[in-house]
């Protein structure tokens, strides 16, 4: 019975989070002595068979234009059919925006135990136990799945992608596509910018920046690092920055490789959304700011002086 991986895409492109899901699913298949297959919905502009390098042997595709628009109800119905058709008893997907909408539906439909927000490979030595993040990153839980079919939704940026050699066989998956009850009216995407949840590096700033007019240096640093920008809650509440940049316990939770916090005090609610970052750098003029306790590297200093200097130093390093 293969491990089935849902390959999420947007505008014909596979999302980075799905490459993590593919690697995870393939590793899990190896651990269980089986193989991994993928399923992709909608028309794709990139060469899907190349995803074989992440360890999938076969990819089922429903290349129907109606699936270019995401609807959790139709996606769930089709993926559930694919689970049945492949005889798979393990479904892996990313716990990204689409994953959060379809994984619970699939869990209810297939009566399959779901671990949403997995952060490590499943322990299959005795039962089936998956580590997941709880209390907004302040703790983790070992969740035991008791059902025959199991679903794992892994948090973005928590499993390292590994690419080897290989191509996957592409097979059309014949299925009745239910009519969607959701109509897409408009997409608003900041083009050229790195999506926050997918970013390897995030540059974030807080009330210490004094006002929205001072964000130029934050954006400049982010651009230099190919980073996404984020902010603390009061900054979003004051409409200095768009609300989709708000990270923390009541905003978006992220786990980039590098998180640079500028003029943010490091309140417990803020830390809850960013404490899974691999490396944290704090720039704050107050040496007593609580954020330094959660940081790996820090500069006690005025952001208005430090940030432009840091940007220059990084540019120099990149040029050398």
């Amino acid at each position: 019975m293969p491990v089935l991986i849902f390959i999420d895409s947007a505008e014909g492109h596979v999302k980075k989070a799905s490459l993590e899901a593919l690697t995870y699913g393939a590793d899990l298949a190896t651990q269980l002595g089986t193989h991994a297959e993928g399923i992709v919905l909608g028309n794709m502009t990139e060469d899907i068979s190349a995803l074989g390098k992440y360890g999938v042997k076969k990819i089922h595709q429903v290349a129907d234009a109606s699936l270019d628009q995401f609807d959790s109800q139709t996606y769930c119905a089709i993926i559930a059919e694919a689970v049945k058709a492949t005889g798979s008893d393990l479904l892996v997907l990313s716990n990204n925006v689409h994953g959060k909408a379809i994984a619970p539906r699939l869990s209810a439909r297939l009566k399959a135990g779901l671990v949403a927000g997995a952060v490590a490979m499943a322990d299959t030595s005795n039962g089936f136990i998956v580590k997941k993040s709880v209390f907004s990153g302040k703790a983790f839980a070992q969740v035991s799945i008791q059902t025959a079919i199991k679903i794992i939704a892994i948090n973005p940026n928590s499993y390292k992608t590994v690419a080897n050699e290989g191509t996957a066989e592409l097979v059309p998956f014949a299925v009745t596509i239910p009519a969607s009850k959701i109509k897409l009216l408009q997409v608003n995407k900041a083009s050229g910018e790195v999506p926050l949840t997918e970013a390897e590096i995030v540059v974030s700033a807080g009330r210490g920046m004094k006002g929205p007019e001072n964000w130029g240096m934050v954006e400049e640093l982010a651009k230099t690092l190919h980073a996404a920008t984020a902010c603390s809650r009061p900054v979003a509440d004051a409409h200095w920055r768009p609300h989709n940049e708000h990270v923390g316990q009541t905003g978006i939770a992220i786990a980039p490789n590098l998180y640079i916090a500028i003029g943010i005090s490091g309140a417990i609610q803020h830390l809850a959304g960013v404490n899974r970052s691999k490396v944290i750098v704090v720039i704050n003029k107050d040496a007593e700011a609580p954020f330094f306790k959660a940081a790996d590297y820090g500069i006690v200093g005025d952001a208005f002086e430090v940030v432009p200097k840091l940007t220059e130093a990084i540019k120099k390093m990149k040029a050398s």
Binding site: S72, Q73, N96, P104, A139, A141, I182, V187, N257, I268
Partner: protein, 247 residues
């Protein structure tokens, strides 16, 4: 219009996270409980705004929990809402909880079902989606805006690096997040009124439990911060490049 808002009780955002019973139980000792912020600030307040715009609407709150959730439900009723239903059960399994709410939803016949995008304790983000599937309804997750015109809902939802606007007909399940509404504080009149609003307690229906928590744990503590002088940012760049290998 009939609106059902799912609310749950969570530890306060500043609560100390610790575990007892050989790391199998959350340590309740000294913990303050609050309404899950996503349920309160976004789902409930948006429901209240919709009722303000159309006073013929009815808002019901539902929670799955034991009697110690009652103070939280009263607090939610103080913000608004006409009555609350508590399903008298205690479970950490999302499917079990969703199955209970689905039964309440079938009995009540709601047009709009709102949940927070996730709880801040288990971060499952699962109740809305499971509920939608159990009721065979459309589901829009991670909504940052909701407008109604008659039977039609226009919703702005999060996507990677932006947002999209979708349209759907009621009945509908939506999970709510920032942008939906602004936080409110209950006033004295609301608090008084909440005391006499109905809080119905119903017994759970039979439902499966699909998962269980074997153990909890805390992440390892950080080694400590390495401070670099503000006059030597080159050193920070070097450390990030050579030591942390993150740039």
């Amino acid at each position: 219009m009939k609106i059902l808002v799912c609310v749950s009780k969570t530890p306060d955002t500043t609560a100390k996270i610790a575990f007892t019973d050989n790391n199998t139980k959350f340590d309740n000792n000294g913990v303050q409980w609050i309404i899950n912020p996503y349920d309160e600030w976004y789902a409930l307040v948006r429901a209240i705004e919709l009722k303000e715009a159309d006073p013929s609407s009815v808002i019901h709150l539902v929670t799955v929990g034991t009697a110690d959730a009652d103070p939280i439900i009263r607090k939610a009723l103080a913000l608004g809402g006409d009555e609350a239903i508590r399903v008298n059960a205690d479970s950490q399994d999302s499917y079990y909880v969703a199955a209970q709410i689905a039964q309440v939803a079938r009995d009540g016949g709601y047009d709009l079902l709102l949940a927070g995008k996730e709880t801040i304790d288990f971060n499952g983000a699962s109740i809305g989606g499971m509920l939608a599937e159990l009721l065979d309804l459309p589901y829009v997750a991670l909504a940052a805006r909701l407008d109604l015109a008659g039977n039609k809902a226009t919703i702005v939802r999060e996507i990677e690096g932006g947002e999209e606007t979708v349209e759907a007909e009621l009945p509908l399940v939506i999970s709510c997040q920032k942008g939906m509404a602004e936080q409110r504080i209950p006033n004295m009149r609301g608090i008084m009124a909440a005391r006499t609003k109905p809080l119905k307690v119903v017994e759970p229906v039979a439902a499966d439990t699909l998962t269980s928590i074997a153990a909890f744990g805390l992440p390892p503590a950080k080694a400590g911060v390495k401070l670099v002088s503000p006059d030597n940012v080159e050193e920070l760049v070097r450390l990030l490049h050579e030591e942390a290998k993150s740039i």
